[in-house]
Subunit: 361 residues, 2 copies
Amino acid sequence: MTFYALIMAGGTGTRLWPISRQDNPKQSLKLIGGRTMFEHTIDRIAPLLQPEQIFVVTDAQQAQLLMAQAPELPPENFIIEPEGRGTAPCIGLGAIHLHRQDPEAIMAVLTADHFITDTERFRQALTAGVKVAQDGHLVTLGITPASPSTGYGYIKQGESLGAVEGFPVFRAERFTEKPSRETAFHMVESGEYTWNSGMFLWRTDRILEEFQRQMGEFYVHLAEIEATLGTAGYKPTLKRVWPQVDKQAIDYGVMERAEDVAVIPVDIGWSDVGSWGSLAELLSALENEDKEGNVIVGPHVGIDTRDTLVFGEKRLIATIGLEDMIIVDTDDAVLVCSREQEQEVRTLVELLEERGENGYL
Amino acid sequence: MTFYALIMAGGTGTRLWPISRQDNPKQSLKLIGGRTMFEHTIDRIAPLLQPEQIFVVTDAQQAQLLMAQAPELPPENFIIEPEGRGTAPCIGLGAIHLHRQDPEAIMAVLTADHFITDTERFRQALTAGVKVAQDGHLVTLGITPASPSTGYGYIKQGESLGAVEGFPVFRAERFTEKPSRETAFHMVESGEYTWNSGMFLWRTDRILEEFQRQMGEFYVHLAEIEATLGTAGYKPTLKRVWPQVDKQAIDYGVMERAEDVAVIPVDIGWSDVGSWGSLAELLSALENEDKEGNVIVGPHVGIDTRDTLVFGEKRLIATIGLEDMIIVDTDDAVLVCSREQEQEVRTLVELLEERGENGYL
């Protein structure tokens, strides 16, 4: 059995505005160490996989941008979604491509815009996950929670399925949506829950089986497309069928009621880099923090500035008397935001959209 | 007797960094209503004076910039100081020029980088001041205090000298330096003090007399320069003599111990625009404030932003969750500063100087 990676690279990352834009989405941003998020994603799995084993699902707009970042991947490994329909259709489309290439393929579903500090441990986890997936389990990598975050879904561990390559494996008893603060606190305290990272490993035949069982209508669409794979009919069929596909997330569409779901708790320094605060925490962990708790990227001069993220490019950012702030500077826009209200960046982008300020989107 | 204006235009306005720079000093900034501070200064006195009656003391670097802003002034009315030596030498140099042109000249000493909202009342005060100066008084315009500011010197009113053109005139009993908060509070409460605005009116013969009496050494230098006025020897003499002149402010050098000093209290909406907070207050008074107390110049989008100054040019400034902040955006630098610590802008500029970051100075 061969092991393939399917990288989902369709999002935009609104909460990282003004750096992230429609034509420069999150996975193409150089947020950490001068490499894009997508480049880091490829770097991370390159020691395990040949370029031919790495597939990317993205949209037409982003494909060129991503190909330029990973010229070693065969261009035909970039699978173009006519439009984003959520993670379930994205994974289904990838699955039929891999299944046709290798009916015994095991696929690792990965995200293009997350970050992992302990890449060695991550690769060990993937290797373990492949072994567990060979037995027919749908494997999910559960992140050992660093805090009672209310921003992620949680996975409850059920009975032990033993250990593989030094990783304990559990039956996944339940997927829960983003919890309240109190619930999150109790879940983390119990030691029985991990964060749902959105990274999965399974045999393509197993996931297609689950699509057929749980998302029957989608499976019919998928079969229609699959029948045209490798023919001139593929593109027009995809284009015709895809708008009829309902939006669905893999968690709700498949994982919550799937059979034989296993979870491997992993402690790999994972971050979804979902907001400026999250990036600041990550950069702190990567020892980019000064003694006042600031994370500074780009030219800066400061007086009495604490626990502040300064993320610039070319221009000088000068700060005086700040605490817990986020400052992000780009060529055409600058964001100054209280760290407490960083989630409002999304609202701000909506506001710009309402105003028709498309140049800033 | 003819009345002349001598505009002192030598400062840089460090506390308005990053807009103000060595090669773009405060008087040349378009901070209010799309006109530079210097243009406003000229506009303000234009109804009273012919261009020939308006003189400017500045340095060689700024002269071109200022001439371009007031092309109606005769170029020879720009008096070039080889280097700034404080207000006393600046005024002395202006005085010998005016005195030679018109031995009976009355000069109004004005600043190029302050702002006055009630320009009509200001001109009435100048007209009244000229009349008081004719009698030989050294007249100072005292600003009716708007608050117990500790940022200005104060002038104590002595005996009444009557009223001129509807303005009460007092003997100036004492000049005091910047007071403590408590002292300032008592001074303002007493109603007997006004702020020292640095605007004066006097006969040139009277001020030269005071220079001779109180700053004898400087007066000798001045006489040496005066002897060369209108000859080829002027420039080399000025260049040779000026470095020997001690730095001195007119207040300490002359006014505190001068004879026949009068003060005319005026309520003219004066602001020294000495800092970003001061500009914000001024723009508020000019009804540029939104209902959340923000003063916004340039493209802006905000969520939960209060009592904040946003001073931009071309780029979009986005703010979330801010209170009492100052944000100033320029092509090569952006300042984000707590309003409470706005005085630290000067320290920041010093820091840049120490670091040798001359491009930002």
